[in-house]
């Protein structure tokens, strides 16, 4: 197979459409006639080809519980075998030399360096912040990571640690990771993080409500959190490992985007199944189709379980081939990870020096 490089930023086609202003309702395309296709082709084309043409006008979708439910259940079903095969085949690309160097730097710049442990101390968060700003102190050409991701009570410490750099501070909120708390508590959690200076809020959806079919509750919760986050960008975590089916992941993605998510994120990293190429591919298709329909670009963040540079590069190939080069930027794509960064740095050192590096040459998290 021919190795295809991720194009350098200068070569990226197009500029994303201007984002909508708050409260503005996106203009919608009318349903167009599908033309000469036979009924069967029409029925199966949706399953086989990936575009998920929303069957309803999105403006009315969130008008009531039943319209929202009808919309989400009207989304085409996911061809699970096809999805996994597509994700696997994109994972076989061979990315070498200059393309690899580009991909590694890009991946480093996309890392949300994360520490979400009960044992987090201010010292650990400060160390993490220092690492986020200068991932490899021996090589100052290494790009900074995108953000550090911490619990709300550590936001102030993290903010101080990354002060004066481009690194953002993201905070999980809304009773992370279970999300099992009253809305007031969740909103207080969010306000707390924002007032401490968080640039980004990572919220979890109420999976219980989602799985019970109570989509409107989830929707309203996301909009309420969005409002509470103010200027901070909102990442919505679906915990795909708990949603059971690909259909549910597709529905959750659309639900999140309809409710105003700036990012949709796979997982908390706290359950057995985290980000996989297949579920990330599915979410990338969703953001691509959402932009095609509404003009609003939404970011994607796979989190948990991505540990090696090889995996990270596979995800970048997915992004480029599915959503497109517009998403190859840390404003629109992130990796939620902690150990991944060390592997990226070791690979970077290998490319720079020609000798394999070892864990003695990166920091212990």
């Amino acid at each position: 197979m021919v190795a295809r490089a991720v194009p350098p930023p200068a070569l990226r086609p197009g500029v994303p459409p201007a984002p909508l202003e708050a409260g503005q309702i996106p203009r919608l395309k009318k349903n167009r006639s599908l033309g000469v296709y036979s009924r069967y082709a029409r029925r199966y084309a949706r399953l086989v080809t990936m575009p998920t043409t929303a069957p309803h006008a999105l403006a009315d979708v969130t008008a009531s519980h039943s319209t929202l439910r009808r919309f989400l259940h009207g989304l085409p079903g996911v061809d699970a075998v096809g999805l996994e095969a597509r994700a696997a085949s994109l994972g076989t690309r061979s990315i070498k030399t200059t393309a690899k160097a580009y991909a590694i730097d890009l991946a480093i710049s996309m890392v949300d360096l994360t520490t979400l442990e009960g044992a987090d101390t201010p010292g650990k968060v400060r160390a993490l912040g220092a690492k986020a700003v200068h991932p490899d102190p021996t090589d100052r050409t290494t790009p900074a990571t995108a953000a550090v991701c911490v619990y709300p009570d550590m936001v102030a410490v993290a903010k101080e640690a990354v002060a004066g750099s481009s690194v953002k501070v993201a905070s999980v909120a809304t009773a992370f990771p279970a999300g099992r708390a009253a809305l007031d508590v969740k909103l207080a959690d969010v306000r707390d993080a924002v007032s401490a200076g968080a640039d980004e809020i990572d919220m979890v959806i109420d999976r219980g409500a989602f799985l019970a079919g109570n989509y409107m509750k989830v929707y309203e919760e996301i909009t309420a959190v969005k409002e509470a986050s103010g200027a901070a960008r909102l990442k919505v975590i679906f915990e795909t490992g708990e949603l059971s089916t690909y259909d549910n992941i597709r529905r959750a993605s659309w639900l999140g985007m309809l409710a105003g998510a700036d990012f949709i994120k796979t997982s908390t990293g706290k359950v057995a199944v985290n980000a996989t190429p297949a579920n990330t591919l599915l979410m990338l298709e969703a953001v691509r189709d959402f932009r095609a329909q509404t003009g609003v670009q939404v970011g994607v963040k796979p989190a948990g379980g991505i540990r090696t540079s090889k995996d990270a590069i596979k995800f970048l190939v997915l992004v480029n081939e599915t959503a497109g080069a517009d998403w190859l930027d840390n404003h629109w794509f992130r990796f939620g990870a902690s150990s991944l960064l060390n592997d990226l740095l070791m690979q970077r050192q290998k490319l720079a020096t020609g000798r394999y590096s070892g864990p003695d040459y990166v920091t212990v998290d």
Binding site: Q349, G354, R355, Y356, S357, G358, P359, D360, Y361
Partner: protein
């Protein structure tokens, strides 16, 4: 079809020799193999031709195994190594055949080599829980302290196995490395890798944790170079490197201060080896323990 001729005829079952990395038997990542012949040039088998990526994977596996293996009690390591000798004994005929082919020996001479190899393995197995008493111990110091020196394993050791002595030589360099708690990445003899690859099968079935020994076959220079330069390899044994290669590897190894064991002028692997190879990959840890407060008499005893 004549049934008389065919009743006893069996299809040949060719053996696919594979690498041994992390307790598994993968093919080379590069997909390459090379032809291995006996001393007269007759084809024996295709051996995997490992690449630098296989070497890298082997180092990762060896590093992963190091904690468990070095942390195991010396007694336990001795038991495990003795079990390897038991398994070798059970496969004696196979090794006699392979060594005879590889080194062009007659059957009885090859059998003597295999016996010597098993004995060598047992000899090193016995040393696991004795070496600390020989090279470690209590040091007399001028103060109220117990001062104790203990030998500690160095870490991941890359071993370039001897080229000519494909089995006895191999075991003579690998056994001392792992007996003391190091983990090894072994580059088998380029010309005669089959005994080494079969030894891997023995290791896999004798309680040696996966990754403690990793066996690579292929072009020695190609595999040894990245190992010598690897930042996560702590030591390298250059037994099987020729003069030019040994010099190159030693230069590459200098960068992260690897412990280097230069090729020794040893021709006779059958001679009793002594402790040099055991101690080559040990480092000494010395600790001071207070004996407790001194009594009025000047001693706490």
């Amino acid at each position: 079809m004549s049934t008389v001729d065919r009743t006893n005829e069996r299809l040949t079952v060719f053996k696919t020799y594979k690498l041994y990395v992390g307790g598994k038997f993968p093919r080379s990542e590069s997909g390459r193999v090379y032809e291995v012949t006996d001393s007269k040039g007759k084809w024996l088998a295709n051996a995997p031709q490992a690449s630098r990526k296989d070497a890298r994977d082997a180092v990762v596996a060896a590093r992963k195994a190091f904690g468990g293996w070095s942390g195991a009690t010396a007694y336990n390591r001795g038991q495990v190594l003795y079990r390897v000798a038991e398994m070798l004994e059970g496969r004696r005929d196979q090794f006699v055949r392979e060594v005879a082919d590889a080194e062009g020996l007659g059957k009885s001479k090859a059998a003597a080599v295999v016996d010597a190899t098993v004995d060598r393995w047992v000899w090193y197995a016995g040393w696991t829980d004795k070496i600390a008493q020989v090279v470690g111990g209590g040091n007399p110091v001028a103060g109220p302290f117990f001062n104790l020196s203990t030998p500690e394993p160095t870490g991941v050791v890359a071993v370039v196995a001897p080229q000519e002595s494909s089995f006895l030589g191999l075991v003579s360099v690998v056994a001392p490395v792992i007996a003391t708690g190091n983990t090894a990445v072994v580059v088998a003899s380029e010309k005669a890798p089959l005994p080494a690859l079969s030894l891997a099968e023995v290791l896999a079935t004798s309680d040696v944790p996966g990754g403690v020994v990793n066996v690579l076959s292929g072009r020695t220079a190609e595999i040894a170079a990245p190992l010598a330069a690897h930042q996560d390899v702590n030591a390298i044994d250059l037994a099987g490197a020729d003069e030019v290669l040994a010099k190159e590897l030693e230069i590459a190894a200098a960068d992260n201060l690897k412990r280097v064991l230069r090729p020794q002028p040893v021709d006779d692997w059958t001679a009793t080896p002594g402790l040099d190879r055991l101690t080559a990959f040990l480092e000494t840890k010395t600790v001071w323990h207070p004996t407790g407060s001194l009594g009025a008499s000047g001693s706490s005893y």
